[in-house]
Amino acid sequence: MALDLYSKEETPTWKKILFIISIVLTFIVLIIFTYNQFSKIPQKSARISSVNIELAKQGTEEQQKEKDYVLEAERKLNDFKKIYDEKVDFDEFFNVFSSWVYPRVAFLSLSIDVSGSKLNIKAQTDTLQSVMQQLILLDAKKDILSYTISNIEVSEGGIVNFDLELNINPELFKKNEQQ
């Protein structure tokens, strides 16, 4: 029987495949590492730097001045609006007020309480009939919410004095809300 001194046992295929896989795996990991380290991370860092530079460019002295200018205007306008909203307008009131007076009645005094929307009137007329007419006129006015008549006095000359207290629609003192 001859002896084969040069014979070698063949390496099993699975070991070769495992070897190749290990080599490929090593390469893949190295490629990922290299790509991240030398491309992706520097790219991201550069982007952060450029955004930071862009941010630093914002809020320049001129922009800050514009900002202060606009904010000051806003503050002033808000303050003014608050004041203006509380303003009382007498246009509408005096327009309708003249229509509340019966022609034969004259007012001796008139007191207007804006916050209470109340009118106190001392009035004078020639007859009790005119007082009745005045009351009928007040009844017909939608802006007079309620009224009280008191102190009716008839003087020797026939002149009638009386007091009126009117509760009126507060909207009459507001701007552009009564048309």
């Binding site: 070698k8 893949i28 941010l55 922009q63 509380e86 007020f97 004259a106 001796l108 020639d126």
Partner: protein, 200 residues
């Protein structure tokens, strides 16, 4: 195990273990770092967008204000935010002028609620709140002149808020007339109370 197979297997195992270790200790932290950088970029871009939009809006509003002549309007509105040691003196002169323009006669004018001492701080811009100063007028004249005064008040940049009005005859007990006027006399006394704004 055959000696010929040993390097293949050993190298394979060493490489796989090394790859896993390399991935775990070096590549994974890289991904974590990339993720953190992405978040930082996203935050910065959001901030940049907001800041840019904000300053664009500011610039747009500043241009609009300039177009609308804000500087002139602001000067007029400033009448409502006045203060200082000459406030009462200035207001008295101002209201005197308005009353004269209306045709009424000013019997008296009272301005109350103004602080008597006034502190000036160097280099400090005062953005104080708004307070109300009480004013009261005692006037004499015609009813139509009074309506004229109310109209003049209404057209002022200074917001004059009237709280109460009392109208009465100057000569109480005047006889009843049938002139058809609202008031029984053309010569009337007016007491007006109100407020004006001032910087606190």
């Amino acid at each position: 195990m055959n000696n010929n197979n040993l390097p293949y297997l050993t190298i394979s195992i060493v490489l796989i273990v090394a790859s896993i270790a390399f991935f775990y200790f070096l590549v994974l932290p890289q991904f974590e770092k990339i993720s953190a950088l992405d978040k930082e970029i996203s935050d910065l871009e959001f901030k940049l967008e907001n800041t840019t939009n904000y300053f664009n809006d500011v610039s747009y509003n500043a241009e609009k204000l300039a177009e609308l002549g804000w500087d002139n309007v602001s000067k007029k509105i400033d009448a409502n935010f006045m203060d200082g040691p000459f406030f009462i003196h200035n207001m008295e002169a101002y209201f005197n002028k308005l009353v004269v323009r209306s045709g009424l006669y000013l019997n008296s004018l009272s301005i109350e609620g103004v602080e008597e001492s006034f502190e000036v701080k160097e280099g400090v811009e005062d953005k104080g709140t708004i307070s109300e100063i009480n004013i009261s007028f005692d006037l004499t004249g015609d009813y139509n002149y009074f309506l004229n005064l109310l109209d003049i008040f209404d057209r002022q940049a200074l917001v004059i808020k009237i709280n109460s009005i009392e109208i009465g005859s100057v000569n109480q007990g005047e006889g009843y007339s049938e002139q058809g006027d609202i008031m029984d006399s053309s010569y009337l006394n007016f007491k007006v109370e109100g407020t004006i704004p001032s910087k606190k």
